[in-house]
């Protein structure tokens, strides 16, 4: 327990070091999630549009 507290306190600088790592993780994870959501949304929309277009082409013929 004491070793863990020692590690977390980082020689008294834990208040600067841990926020730095947390901010970096938060920014990168947010970028990853936003990108994944947007690519999934766009690719689903494209697939739906293509499906709809196939449908209208079949109706015309």
């Amino acid at each position: 327990m004491e070793r863990l507290m020692d590690f977390l306190s980082m020689g008294g600088y834990g208040g600067y070091i841990w926020p730095a790592y947390l901010i970096a993780a938060a920014v990168l994870i947010a970028l990853l999630i936003a990108s994944l959501r947007s690519v999934r949304g766009q690719e689903a929309r494209l697939a739906a549009l293509r499906q709809a277009r196939m449908g209208t082409l079949e109706e015309e013929t």
């Binding site: 980082m10 600088y13 600067y16 901010i23 920014v27 990108s35 690519v39 766009q42 929309r45 277009r53």
Partner: protein, 239 residues
Amino acid sequence: MHRFANPNRFLKLANAVLPWSAGLAVLTLGAGLYLALFSSPPDYQQGETVRIMYIHVPSAWMALFVYANIAVASAVALIWRHPLADLIGKASAPIGAGFTLICLLTGSLWGKPMWGTWWVWDARLTSVLILFFLYLGYIALVNAFDDPNRGHRAAGILALVGAVNLPVIKFSVDWWNTLHQPASVMRFDGPAIHPAMLWPLLLMAVGFTLFFVTVLILRVRGEIAAAKIRNLQLSLARG
């Protein structure tokens, strides 16, 4: 040139690279974090705060590298009308802005205990802040027009003009007096840093680069899908 610009060929290659870049990003970042937090020694002057370096310095490298990537993509797009280059520039910008933000915030968190201040208006810090605003300007401009081609053109010109800022950032610590320390790794006479600190630094840098490649592929895929949606809607509207 245009043979390589085929979006379907790009998608095939990108989808083959994606699992590798994602898997290796996790591995290198995991190993880099372990070395950075557990096994690397504290600095003889800066104590434990040196651990902020393993995030701060690689994110600063990425901020410059991603901007250079956008500038090259913009030049290719403006000169050869290469549609994929436009999409790569647009997809890169938010990732570069993210790394620049990390660089600025972690720098602040390092500056407070070591310099006694969160921020100084010196050449290095100010030029990186300008880089952040260049990213934001690029993102705003590329999305500002109904016609995406006009947005890409305007933002591409901004990216090329803003590229003068890159050497200013790199050499700012040599040209002007500053609190910021000069380069320790990318020097003409080789790195002036102990291997126990160089290894986690390089692993984090490789990990960030692989993260960039992974997210870039995802974003370009989204942009290609969006472009195909636009074309389909146009052809539907024309009947």
